[in-house]
Amino acid sequence: MSVIQEREDEIVEEFSMFDEWLDKYQHIIEMGQKLTGIDEAFRTDDYKVKGCQSQVWLQPGIENGVVVFKADSDAAITKGLVALMVRVLSGAPAKEIADAPLEFLERIGLREHLSPTRSNGLVSMVKQMKLYAAAYASQEAHHG
C-alpha cells in the first residue's frame, strides 16, 4: 500500500466517528489550527494560490530527497482542508503525490470542496502540489 493510501485510510477512519456535520467541520478547523503555517518570506503573491474567496499560500520544498509542503489560509475551514491535504501529501514520494487520485475526500463527504467550481483555492492548491511533485519526480528520473 502506498504512503498516501495509508494516510487516507487513517483519515477516513478518523472521520467515521462524526455523525454530525458540525463535529466534522470542527475537527477540520482544529486541524487547521494545528497547522504550523508557512515561513513569512513565503507569504507573498508568488506563493498565493488563486481562489476567489479565501486565500491559500503554498510553500513547497525538498527535504532529505522528498517533497514537503507547508501551507496556510485566511479562512478557518479552508485552512483545515489545507492541513488535511498537507497531512496526506507532504513527505510522500514525489511520483505518488503526482499520481494520487485523492479519493478520500469523497469517502469523508467533503468532495464538494474539491470541485473545480469551488472558489476556495483548494483545487488550485492541490494542482500546484501535484505539478511541483511531478516536476521533481521527472528531475529525479533524469538525474537518477
Binding site: W21, L22, Y25, Q26, I29, C52, Q53, S54, D74, A75, A76, I77, T78, S119, N120
Partner: protein
Amino acid sequence: MPVFDAGEIASIRSRFPILSRTVHGKPLVYLDNAATSQMPESVIQAVSEFDRTRHANVHRGVHKLSQEATDVHEGSRDRLAKFLNARRREEIVLTKGATESINLVAHAWGRRNLRSGDVVLVSELEHHANIVPWQIVGSENGSIVVPIPALDDGSLDQDAFQKLLDGAKGPVKLLAVQHVSNALGTIHPVKEMVAAARSRGIATLVDGAQSVPHMPVDVQDLDCDFLAFSGHKMHGPTGTGVLYGRYEVLERLPPWMGGGDMIDKVSFSGTTFHEVPWRFEAGTPNFTGAAGFAAALDFLEEIGMDRIHAREAELVAFAHRELSGIPGLRILGTHPDKAGVVSFVMEGIHHYDAGMFLDQMGIAVRTGHHCAQPAMERYGVTGTIRASFAIFTTESEIEALAAGVRRVQKVLGG
C-alpha cells in the same frame, strides 16, 4: 400596518416550487436574490408551454410556429416597454442580461463617442460589469474611468460628484452609475444625478440590475439615455435582459455585433443594417426566455412594484434590528435608503467560513466581494456576507439567519 398579511405572503411563497425543497436536510432559506431570484410556477409554465407548443425561430419563418414564437417574443418587448413606461417599444433592446446591455453601450456608443482624455464617471460601488467594459473601451481610445467616491454610510459623495461633473478629472462624456448597490443595497438618487449630468449635455446610463426588480422604475421619469437590467434577478429566466435606450440615441448608434436578424441587406460590396432595436440583436434571440420574462412581469405587476418596494424596506429594517444586536457583527451600508440587501462582516470570522456554515444550516447567502472589489477596498474588507431579499422572504427566515450567525460565532469563536 404591515404591507402584506401573513396569509398573503404564504400564498406568494406557495407559488415558488423551489421554496419547498430542503438543503442538507433543512428547509431552504433562500437569501441570495440579488444574485439570482427564484421563478414562480407561472414563469416555469410559460417557458415550458412555449417549448412544448411554439418552439421555433422568430422573425424569419412564414410558418405558423414561427409566427406564434415571434408574437410571444415581440410581445415581451411590448410588456417591457409598458413596464418601464418607455415612449415606444423600439426603445427596448432584448439582451442576455445587464452585463451584455452595458457592453453593448460601451462598444456601440463608447467607441463612437469617447476620445482620449474623456471621462466615464462611475461610482466607487459599481459592479465590475459597469467598470470593466469602460476600461476595455478606454484601453482602445484613451478615455478614462473615474469613480464618484462613496461615503462611510454606503451613499455616494454628492459634493464630489458635482465637482467631477464640472470637469475636476477631465471632460465627462458619460455618467454610468448604478441605481442600487448590489454589495450594500444603497439606493442612490439617480434621478437627480441624471438630471445634473443631462443639464451639462452628458450622456447617462443607469445600471438598474438591483433596482428594476425591487421598485417602480419609470424611464421617462428617470430620463436617462440607457438603462440596463437582467431578467433572472426579477423572477424571470436566466439569459434574459434589457437595454433600454432613448430612441433618438439608439437610432444614431452603429451595431455592435454582426450576424443574422440585424441586417437590412448584405452584399460583399457593403451591408446596410436593420432598424432599431433589431440592429442590436444579432443572431437567434432567447425567445424561450422572453416567454418567461413576460410571465415574470405579470407576476411582479400583479403584486405591484410599490408594494414590493415597501415590503422589502420592511424586511431590511427588520434584518437591521435582528443583526445589529449581535456583538462583533458590523453592517456595511447604513444609509436609510436601501433596497433588499443587508451586507455585513463578523469580527474574527472569515466570510467564507460563515457562508459554508450557514449553507450547512440550509441558509443560502452570498459571501465574497460581490463582483465589486473597489467597493470592498473602500470599506477595508476582502468580502462580506450578504443576505438579499425578495417578495417571498419572511421575518422568520431573517430570524433563522440571525440564529445561524450566532451559531457560527459560537463554533468559530469570533
